[in-house]
């Protein structure tokens, strides 16, 4: 209950530390959660554990992978899972486990970089639109409205089909088409902070707009940014895999979960494992990101805590 009565202090940790001298007991309940409390949240713990494992697999791919992911042994094509090939082999006789391990590296990095672009663009535009209001808000919001009215997937297949799909280009396209939702979420959060007393206090103290945005608004919306970022990676992974299905994602033979899963569509009735396993990896990873994002949202948003 005490948290509900002191919302502005929990929303702006920067102010707490610099201007107000809280007692120790008070600080323990501050909005900056301890690692222990974060990991005490089951969703965060599970999500983080799965993702750390996935990232480790991606990092250690050269050492973990039992075979060359691109070695084609045509005599071994379409073999079901066995001790030699735990996840079977694909239509060119390549070891699916090895390809899946390497694909982890590529799928995770593509989605991570694309998310960083998305979240940077989204945060900057969201902060500006929400805080400055007026014409700036109008222009940015109409732009997001327009982009959100596009079926993003059709837009992406159009762009990729026309401009090509190198790895770098693909990351850029994914990054620059997915920001409107992030911008909107962040703008809404900024709007809710904008008229709080601590913002007025900073302004009265003579802080510039840039300073207010950086030191007072940004910390307040940081949790929303973190949560949005986590959930956006999940979306980007799904979009990339969807593009791969149409041969518009990362181009083979470079393995990604998406293009591996789609390669198997021709052998669905004879070799189920080609499509199944990479898809399971996508589901697990996206699920983990969503769990993490959900858990973080519950822990970082003071209004949601204590439920």
């Amino acid at each position: 209950m005490t948290q509900a009565t002191a919302p502005s202090s929990t929303m702006a940790p920067a102010v707490n530390r610099t201007r107000v001298n809280w007692g120790d007991a008070q600080r323990k309940r501050s909005a900056i959660p301890t690692w222990r409390r974060l990991l005490g949240n089951r969703r965060i713990a599970i999500g983080a554990a799965v993702l750390i494992t996935m990232y480790l697999i991606g990092l250690l791919a050269p050492w973990l992978s039992p075979a060359d992911p691109n070695a084609q042994i045509l005599l071994n094509r379409l073999r079901p899972p066995s001790t030699a090939h735990p996840l079977g082999t694909d239509s060119l006789g390549r070891d699916i486990l090895s390809r899946a391990i390497w694909a982890t590296r590529i799928s995770l990095s593509v989605s991570l970089v694309a998310m960083l672009i998305t979240i940077c663009v989204g945060s900057i535009l969201g902060l500006l639109a929400g805080f400055l209001g007026g014409a700036v808000d109008m222009v940015i919001m109409r732009l997001t409205d327009m982009l959100m009215a596009f079926p993003i997937f059709i837009l992406l297949i159009t762009i990729v089909a026309i401009y090509g799909s190198g790895l770098g280009l693909l990351i850029l396209f994914l990054g620059f088409t997915a920001w409107p939702l992030a911008a909107r979420t962040i703008r809404a959060e900024v709007l809710s902070l904008k008229h709080r007393d601590f913002i007025d206090a900073a302004r009265i103290n003579g802080a510039s707009t840039a300073r207010i945005l950086w030191f007072h608004v940004l910390p307040g919306v940081l949790s929303v940014i973190v949560v949005t970022a986590t959930l956006r990676v999940a979306t980007v992974i799904l979009i990339e895999s969807g593009l791969s299905y149409f041969g518009l994602g990362v181009t083979p033979p470079t393995p990604t979960w998406g293009n591996m899963a789609s390669e198997g569509r021709l052998y669905l009735d004879t070799a189920w494992w080609i499509t199944t396993f990479p898809g399971v990896l996508i589901v697990i990873t996206v699920l983990a990101y969503n769990l993490l994002g959900d858990g973080l949202r519950d822990e970082l948003d003071p209004r949601r805590r204590g439920r």
Binding site: I154, T158, V283
Partner: protein
């Protein structure tokens, strides 16, 4: 109120113009010549290629091309580069399939999603809540095309219960519901899974938020029964924001139809979009983009109007 709606409708016009310029720009500023996709450059002389470009209007400056395209789009006689058929006709031919599919998906997704979300919110942090949360997280996490392939694998390849492709049995025609339904079961499940998950999550959090509001405490303090509090106060106020999802979900849904209609070989708009993207049939891509945009904007507008009508606070804020 009516002024607010009128203003919103007028605002749609510049937005549509903006969207049309963006779509047009994206496809026309691309390198490459669409005439090369239509005819083999080896087979035609330079003069013939030039004649084709003139015929398609590609010899004009881009702004003129844009204006001409928009003019013929609005008068309904914009022709496909590839088939020389009016684009509107092509879309009209494929509309019933996509409309039927998405209507089914919306009904299943929204109704089940709301039920699931409310169930969760009424018993937060219980086993049921956790299990349903996991289920909706799965709905979020599964790639559309992969779910489609898996369902085909299980229900068509292994069990042989449902057809894998087409919209109706071969050598039949028309829209006999009994004949068409089996062909739409799997596509509907695939697309509804994601929507259901989104609606359920949204409903759950909206309902939980409402449950924490002061006026619910007041209602309880007044001595109203828990049933009246949940149904009349919480449910009504928390299902309302869910409506606003409608507009926002349309583009995702139609994006999903690209995958689903391709995999299940349904002759719908999503499939047409993919085909025309691959063959660079610009007029068709442009029209589909605008068509979807109009749907989204109308969906958003309707959702907003419903919201404003139902929530007096929004009205006062105007």
């Amino acid at each position: 109120m009516s002024r607010h709606i009128l203003r919103r409708i007028i605002l749609l016009i510049p937005m549509l113009i903006g969207i049309s310029i963006m779509s047009y720009g994206i496809i026309r500023l691309a390198p490459g010549d669409p005439t090369r996709m239509l005819a083999d450059p080896e087979m035609l002389t330079t003069e013939q290629m030039e004649a084709l470009r003139v015929q398609l209007g590609l010899d004009q400056p881009i702004q003129i091309q844009y204006l001409r395209t928009m003019q013929s789009l609005l008068t309904g006689d914009l022709l496909s580069f590839k088939t020389r058929q009016p684009v509107m006709e092509m879309i009209a031919e494929r509309l019933p399939t996509t409309a039927g599919l998405t209507a089914g998906v919306l009904i299943v997704g929204f109704s089940l999603g709301m039920v699931v979300g409310v169930l969760q919110a009424l018993r937060p942090s219980t086993r049921l809540d956790e299990a349903l949360t996991f289920f909706s997280l799965f709905g979020f996490a599964v790639p559309t095309f992969w779910l489609a392939l898996m369902l085909i694998l299980i229900f068509s390849v292994r069990l042989g219960w449902l057809p894998t492709s087409g919209i109706r049995p071969t050598n039949t025609a028309g829209w006999d519901p009994l004949a068409v339904a089996p062909y739409l079961v799997l596509p509907t499940i695939v697309l509804a899974t994601n929507l259901l998950a989104i609606v359920a999550r949204y409903t759950r959090s909206s309902m939980l938020e409402t449950m924490g509001q002061d006026y619910l405490r007041t209602a309880r303090a007044k001595g109203l029964s828990e049933r009246v509090v949940t149904v009349r106060h919480a449910l009504r106020n928390s299902l309302l924001p869910v409506i606003t999802l409608l507009g926002a979900q349309i583009p995702y849904l139609l994006g999903g139809t690209v995958a689903v209609e391709t995999i299940f070989a349904l002759p719908g708009i999503g499939r047409l979009a993919l085909d025309s993207v691959i063959s660079r049939d610009y007029p068709v891509i442009l029209t589909i983009n605008l068509f979807v945009a109009v749907l989204v904007l109308i969906g958003n507008l309707l959702a907003d109007i419903a919201y404003v009508l139902a929530d007096p606070r929004v009205r006062l804020g105007e």
